[in-house]
């Protein structure tokens, strides 16, 4: 592949770096645009076509969002739901995935149950009814429990566990370990990359919790950041209908429009983005899980 020293080799390398670099920059462009627009003042935004570098940087949009208690509160809710939810996801997924690698009674039946939800899922209304009958309406658990185990993640994690040589567990058994000890002391430490990868998958899913919040949480103070974010973005993107429906009769000064949406997007994405670099090495490995084995 790499021909160090030869001219053509170096040329190819250089070309690759440039092309891939440009490609990467292209991916970043929308985010850059969001970033720039969030700092532009409203007047400049409405008068120019495309803004690549604002004439003056203003933080009006951020001041507005950060001064609204809804955004901060919903951010707190999302962080809470993400932390708790991901923990629940990982504990349940890992334990169940391990259990169905063992040759226990009814193992096939349980795998079937999981696979069944993979293919068929109940509609919105039956799910709502279950959430309601279990008393989860208006509880954060309604965002966590209905999607506690993702069947795809469960199956892939099972494959990963099956890739760990049986001899290790057998050796542990000889040393007197029971199933739980094997799981906690042998399997889990060996599965750190898988745990990290799935943790990340789950975390992103939880972070994006949106529709569940709308459906199951009647109290707007419990809504997640995505709901609030969408309101900020959509309201500014509405036709006159929406602007009219705001308290227009009490003609209050409305803060700049698009820029708020952009700033909100950035603020809501930042935390999850910040987690990525730390998990990145596991993530890259995790994506490959089960791609060869199984």
């Amino acid at each position: 592949m790499r021909h160090k020293g030869t001219l053509s080799g170096r040329l190819t390398d250089g070309l690759n770096v440039v092309l891939l670099g440009l490609l990467a920059l292209l991916m970043l462009l929308p985010f850059y645009y969001i970033f720039v627009v969030s700092f532009v003042d409203a007047k400049e935004f409405s008068s120019s076509e495309l803004i690549l570098w604002p004439k003056n940087w203003v933080s009006d949009a951020y001041d507005y969002i950060l001064s609204s208690k809804e955004f901060i509160r919903s951010m707190g809710v999302t962080i809470y739901v993400t932390a708790l939810g991901t923990l629940v996801n990982l504990v349940l997924t890992a334990t169940m995935a391990y259990a169905i690698t063992r040759n226990i009674w009814g193992q096939r039946f349980y795998v079937f149950l999981v696979l069944f939800t993979f293919i068929f899922s109940a509609g919105m209304i039956p799910t709502y009814l279950i959430v309601k009958e279990t008393g989860l309406i208006d509880s954060y658990w309604s965002l966590i429990l209905p999607s506690a185990i993702n069947p795809f993640n469960l199956i892939v994690m099972r494959q990963f566990f099956m890739g760990i040589p049986d001899e290790l567990s057998e050796a542990a058994v000889i040393d007197g370990a029971n199933d739980l000890q094997i799981f906690a002391k042998i399997i889990l430490p060996l599965s750190k990359p898988a745990i990290a990868a799935f943790g990340l998958f789950y975390a992103v899913l939880n972070w994006n919790t949106y529709f569940g919040a709308i459906l199951y949480l009647n109290d707007p103070t419990k809504w997640t950041v995505q709901v609030v974010l969408r309101q900020l973005v959509i309201l500014n993107d509405q036709d006159t209908l929406a602007s009219a429906a705001r308290d227009a009769a009490l003609a209050g000064e409305l803060p700049p429009s698009e820029t708020i949406g952009m700033a909100a997007i950035l603020l809501a994405t930042l935390p999850i983005l910040a987690v990525y670099p730390f998990l990145q090495k596991h993530f890259a490995k995790g994506v490959m899980l089960g791609s060869v084995k199984g």
Binding site: P220, R230, T240, S243, A248, G252, Q280
Partner: protein
Amino acid sequence: MKKMLTVGLLASMAVSMAACASNNNNNTASPSASGASPSASASASASQPSSSAVPSDASKKISISAIEGTWLSPVPADTGGGLKKINEKFNVEYKPQFVPYEEYSSKLPVVMAAGDLPDVIGIEAVDSNFVKWAKQGAFLPLNDYIDKYPTLKAVPKNVWDAVTVEGKIYAIPQYFPSKYGKKPIIRKDWLDNLGLAMPTTYEELEKVAIAFTKDDPDKNGKDDTYGFALSKQIVYGASMGAAWDIGWYNKNAEGQLIPGIISDGYKEQTQFLANLYKAGALHKDWAVSKSTDVGKDFFAGKYGIWYEQAYSMGGDQFKTLKELSPTAEVVVIPPFKQADGQQGFTAGQGYYIVTALNAKMKGDEDKINRILQMQDYFRTYIPFDQRGPQNPDYDWQNGGENVAYKMVDGLPVAIPEGADERPGRYHKVAQWAETDEATEPYKTYADPTARAFAQASVDLLKNTKFYVDPVYRIHSEVLAQKGSELEQIAKEWQTKMIVGQEPIASWDKMVEEYMKKGGKELIDEVNKLLADAGIQGEWK
């Protein structure tokens, strides 16, 4: 370097994942030209002394739950002082639940199906769901209560028809003017700059639009203007009167009313737009542009003709326009004279949002009347000049002067921090105005340009005739099921015709497909329902 690239790519992937996932919902918001909403509600209040609105049997505390959609952001929290004031005034325990309108059309059916329905239900428009639920008996018939409450009595027959299913009135329509919805507007200053007269026919309009494109109407020496603004789905079109509109006005050879979208009037409009496209007077990207973006461009001085409404439009866009082009003057284009001698626009439906009551309350007269008293109180119209601390109801509904609003140059201005102190925020209905003119839309804007536009629109439109589209007054199942799909078929053809991919001569092929895919059935059913109910289209 390689590592950096990987990190970069992964990072952007992460952002996309986090950012995109919140975007996977169908956007159900934004009705078209006719739609808009009550703004007056925030300033809702009664002109009579408040004591008369307090229920007579007020001794009994009643618990009332409600669900409604909202455009407010943030959504009102149920801890606000405004809610407490409602509870005290009406001796109720009012529990409103607010859902953003983008999600409301998903949430309401779920709540319905789960049997969780609150006492009071707000619905954005009378759609097939409303009719279905009404037929299934989910809502309380209100016929016997109407005459008891002045603001309900004031609703005209054609608007009651919209919420009447099988002879029973199932909801209270909330006010929206039928006249002051979106109308075609033109840059008067551009006409003057080029020495052109206000167009009165499509030929003249075409000339004006082309001149606006080519003759530098804003005199800035740059070729940077378009004559006519249009956005995807042919919103808002170019109908200069009822005969060219999508409403049910024109008749076919058998004398049946037909939907405007397949009428000869609409064909003329399509031809007009196709001519403009060919001449470069439409933006090349109109077919993929969002109406909000096109609207913004109009108010940035890039277009000569677009649509706007005098009532409750916000008004900020005019401020922007004035800043960017100080000489700008925007007026409504008067309707063109039709072949049948009529001249006028199609009226809006005359309401926006309907409020239904849960059928389970049947028999609980105290509760029903308490709810209707609250409705009546908040629906009572307060003339514009009384909107201030001098009117106790206005003051109360808006949370008190210097708490939730302050007076600036004679206009009430919101104090954002006090928003939750406003009772009107928790019981958000529009005040029912006696006539559309009574809303005095021009008085509500602080910005002089917006004011001048609204004033000029009212002056023109108050003497303009309006066509009341009869189709809103009946409930056709075929229309509910196939209406939007059929419209989509026609619009696809028409979009192709405008951009020149299909000749206008294909119009008959379009009508044929429309008829075959259910249009025939639709027209037959609508005409039968109209004949049975004895309803006709009428000019007002």
